[in-house]
Symmetry: C2
């Protein structure tokens, strides 16, 4: 018997998933699906908020993301995987929530403010982008999600969601919605190969779950280490050295990692040898995922049937909640 | 065979309809339904944008507005009357349109700017209120409306709708949506009993279609005429005299009205006599409407079945359009 809490999480289908997602969120989901009822959303509508002119990219990556999910062990029998655009109740409830939030409150949201700057919208912020915390409140509440795995930078979104929940429950004198709690993962954002920024597809500093062995090797060989470590015999730095960051994140043999760090700091351990070791570790982890992913990709029709079945199950929950919402709003004709 | 154009119009259910609506929009709809395919929307979702804390008022007035429609001769066999909240495609398409409009563009919309001031939102403009031109673009386009009867003050909303249509068609290389044209009625806004402002329920200066004879008489007797017209023998002013405004709008006997105006300006025609004449004119017009309204109100179950049947018909059209939209957005899984 699973616990009462409901996990709601998901990804924007704007690219295949990488090992940063793996350690930051996917592994968590594989554990959580045995403890809680879990919904994982492929957020195609949200992906369009800043890819409105590129629907083909979004469409294509819906399948890539689904392949990644199943390849890492998210099990459609335990987790409801669904496509956001096929749940109209999310849009419907968003419209009601927009009445409970002021424009100024949205403009002050720190996550949105930061992202508006990062994305360089300037004076041309799409209205859909400004609204996205409201849309996320809709995603969460339509499934009565109570445990929301998010990075620390997304905490204001959970705060905004709970403000909306309290306002809705108070205004319509109901208890339809439970408040949501953020679940912050231990490794929230893995650094990219360049050591400069978080791993991301757009920065081309990522290792994807579906990368073949050659690609994996090339990416690891290009990795940022210690620029002062010119000769094998030189002592090298461990801090900020991406190879060690990844060994800490992915190698379960912690004694071995400690030994390598000591050797590297003392001198006598070359970058190439070190990177070959990291390759062994990552390749051992990624090989079963890669094989499973290739097998799954052979029957995309079956994958799509799986997604549609998950979506149908999600729709049962969302239409049940919508009935309660419409009763509270007296729109139950 | 009706012409290809599609009329989309409607009302926010925030009060019963009055003779300003009758002459400004309802009579038009009765004519238009014989020429065009016509959708009339009871905009309960939009009514909630500035009545979010008062859902009972909205719910109650859905039926009042429907009674007014049928009482004046809008015929459910010719016009599709439907309830907005039961068309989820409107919310869905709104979310897509929000990506095509900037926040600054919405803040510059003259209609929205004026209404934000009128409603005294100050710094607390609900996000849903700012978005409402986008939501109206959704209302119009989901039914491929091409003829939109609106007051002149609502022209910026039609302009915003056409901007969205052009942007959508261009971005997704489609011709799903035809552009919309405003149809501006001859009498766009009738002045209220006080002669100060447009007729409206909230200003308590209205004559409702359902008013009984006594109420009608009292309202006419309280009407603003010429404050300088103290004695019957005094010459009186016709300009700004609400009684004459209404006679011009509602009395088909224009020769008689011209004669009364001349008599009033010369002196010798008292306000009470004049108002009694207006009462006869309005009562003759309103009596059949009032009787029909009372008959219809006796079977609210039947009225609701009519609304649900209209809504189902509207839903067929909206889901057809949504299929085309999802194909254009590549969200047709």
């Amino acid at each position: 018997m699973k616990k009462q809490e409901i996990v709601l999480t998901g990804d924007r289908p704007t690219g295949p998933l990488h090992i940063g997602h793996y350690v930051g969120s996917l592994l968590n989901r594989v554990s959580l699906q045995d403890i809680y009822k879990q919904y994982v959303m492929i957020a195609d509508v949200q992906a369009l908020t800043d890819n409105s002119a590129n629907p083909a990219k979004v469409r294509e990556n819906v399948m890539e993301v689904a392949l990644d999910y199943l390849a890492v062990g998210i099990d459609p029998a335990k987790t409801t995987i669904f496509i956001q655009s096929m749940i109209p109740e999310i849009a419907e409830i968003t419209m009601f929530y927009l009445n409970l939030v002021t424009v100024n409150r949205l403009l002050r949201n720190p996550t949105v403010k930061t992202e508006i700057q990062q994305k360089g919208f300037g004076e041309s912020v799409p209205a859909g982008f400004l609204m996205y915390p409201v849309s996320q409140a809709a995603d969460i509440t339509i499934f009565k999600g109570t445990i929301i795995p998010v990075g620390e930078d997304q905490l204001p979104v959970i705060e905004q969601t709970n403000e909306i929940i309290r306002s809705f429950n108070r205004t319509y004198q109901t208890d339809v919605f439970p408040e949501a709690k953020a679940l912050i993962p231990k490794v929230s954002r893995l650094v990219g190969l360049d050591g400069q920024a978080k791993m991301s597809k757009s920065l081309n500093n990522a290792i994807f779950l579906g990368d073949d062995e050659d690609t994996l090797k090339k990416r690891i060989m290009s990795m940022y280490t210690d620029p002062g470590h010119l000769h094998v015999s030189d002592p090298g730095k461990v801090e900020g050295n991406v190879v060690f960051v990844y060994l800490d994140a992915f190698d379960t043999d912690t004694a071995k990692v400690a030994e390598l760090k000591a050797h590297y700091q003392k001198g006598g351990l070359g970058d190439v040898v070190l990177k070959k070791y990291l390759f062994e570790v990552l390749n051992a982890m990624l090989t079963p995922i890669r094989i499973r992913r290739m097998q799954l990709a052979q029957d995309r029709g079956e994958m799509m049937r799986m997604l549609l079945a998950g979506t149908e199950k999600a729709r049962e929950a969302s239409s049940q909640t919508m009935q309660e919402v419409k009763k509270a709003l007296m729109l139950n004709y």
